[in-house]
Amino acid sequence: MKKIQLLFICLFFITFSSCEKDDICDAATATTPKLIIEFYDILNPTIKKNVTNLAVKEINTTSSLAFTGTSKIQIPLRTKLDLTKYSLILNSTDAAIDNEDFLQFNYTRKNLFVSRACGFKTNFTLDPTLPFIKTETLIPDGYWIQNLVINTSNVTTENETHVKIYF
């Protein structure tokens, strides 16, 4: 009889365990990568240079991302369009010296399966002939972005720098 009871306990437990809710996507899982941009000194191109009060805003989005005192930023790319256009304002808190440049990134997208919990992720490949378009504001204030180099055109991980900006 003991054996039978043990069996029933097993059956009971197994049936009950099917009530557990699905697992959630682990934060350590590599999902849709952000674009990694690193800033370098134009006068000394091997030296990283920190940005001050850099406001980054996608042109159709109301909120902006703020970065200061860092040489490396991460910005998301739109996963439903083949381009993302950002406004980058350096020294955005001071109207006297602020400078706005526009950068449009052109790319192709690929949606890749990750897992049941995470769903899919989007990987990007920057366009080989025209990976970015740099434009000025309506009233030109000169470019603060003096040079831009694509370090790697495959945006698949956040562990590497995709774009280098010299200013």
Binding site: M1, K3, I4, L7, F8, C10, L11, F12, I14, T15, F16, S17, S18, C19, D22, C25, A27, T31, T32, K34, E58, T61, S63, L65, I75, P76, R78, T79, K80, N111, L112, F113, V114, S115, R116, A117, C118, G119, F120, K121, T122
Partner: protein
């Protein structure tokens, strides 16, 4: 809701089984024991029931076994499932047929002419199926863009196959003459699995949901009819308890 009713049902069945077990405690001293041999066939009623209350599920599973020796039964299941899984991030439909063959070993010593079973078994299972990815969400750790992450896909993956083994634990109780109800739990392990490109076999007909790794869990509630073909009489030398 779906899980709850399965759960309630299993408790009821377990209680019923205890009740029947209670009756078997009576000792008797008739030395002869009639063993009936034959074919038992039926269906998994949980799959039929779920087909009625779950709009995302249509399935049927036929079960059968043939008593080969006193304790060994040749056993198998044949079924078809068409189910749509609506997960948080994925919505996909799986359609396919499965077949399982193997044996059951009855470890329960019956009194008199009772033919209840508490059994342990093994199955080899195989399934051929197709999958349709209806929609999915792109996982983006950035919340900067507020656009809906759902993507409508509709991509179909045909010709998928899986093979697996199952370890079965179950019981069968004769509730009316030659009518049995049974419950079994199965632990599955995948042997082969052809995965679609850029997707995964998250549900396999007959195997059920797949987890990370190759393991799975299944169960069924069967109602079956026993068709006796021949009998043997055995004389018990001693009766204990």
């Amino acid at each position: 809701m779906k899980h709850m009713s399965k759960f309630t049902f299993s408790i009821l069945l377990i209680l019923t089984s205890f009740f029947v077990n209670g009756q078997t405690k009576k000792t008797d001293s008739i030395p002869t024991k009639i063993q009936k041999y034959g074919i038992r066939f039926g269906a998994d009623i949980s799959k039929i029931a779920q087909s009625f209350y779950d709009k995302n599920y249509k399935g049927i599973e036929f079960v059968g076994d043939y008593r080969v020796t006193k304790n060994y039964y040749l056993a198998g299941e044949l079924g078809n499932e068409n189910t749509t899984v609506e997960d948080n991030r994925l919505n996909f439909t799986t359609k396919g047929t499965f077949l399982k063959v193997g044996f059951d070993y009855n470890s329960y010593e019956n009194w008199l002419d009772m033919r209840n079973m508490i059994y342990l078994g093994m199955r080899y299972g195989a399934s051929t199926f197709s999958k349709t990815l209806n929609s999915y969400k792109v996982y983006d750790t950035s919340t900067y863009f507020t656009e809906a992450p759902t993507v409508i896909s509709g991509e179909k993956y045909d010709g998928l196959t899986s093979q697996w083994i199952e370890v079965v634990l179950g019981l069968k109780t004769e509730i009316l003459k030659n009518i049995y109800v049974g419950f079994s739990v199965r632990m599955n392990r995948l042997l082969t699995n052809t995965k679609p490109d850029n997707f995964d076999n998250l549900y396999i007909p007959g195997f059920n949901r797949t987890y990370n790794g190759d393991f799975g869990i299944g169960f069924n509630y069967s109602v079956s009819y026993f068709l006796p073909l021949y009998k043997t009489k055995s004389v018990k030398k001693s009766i204990t308890k």
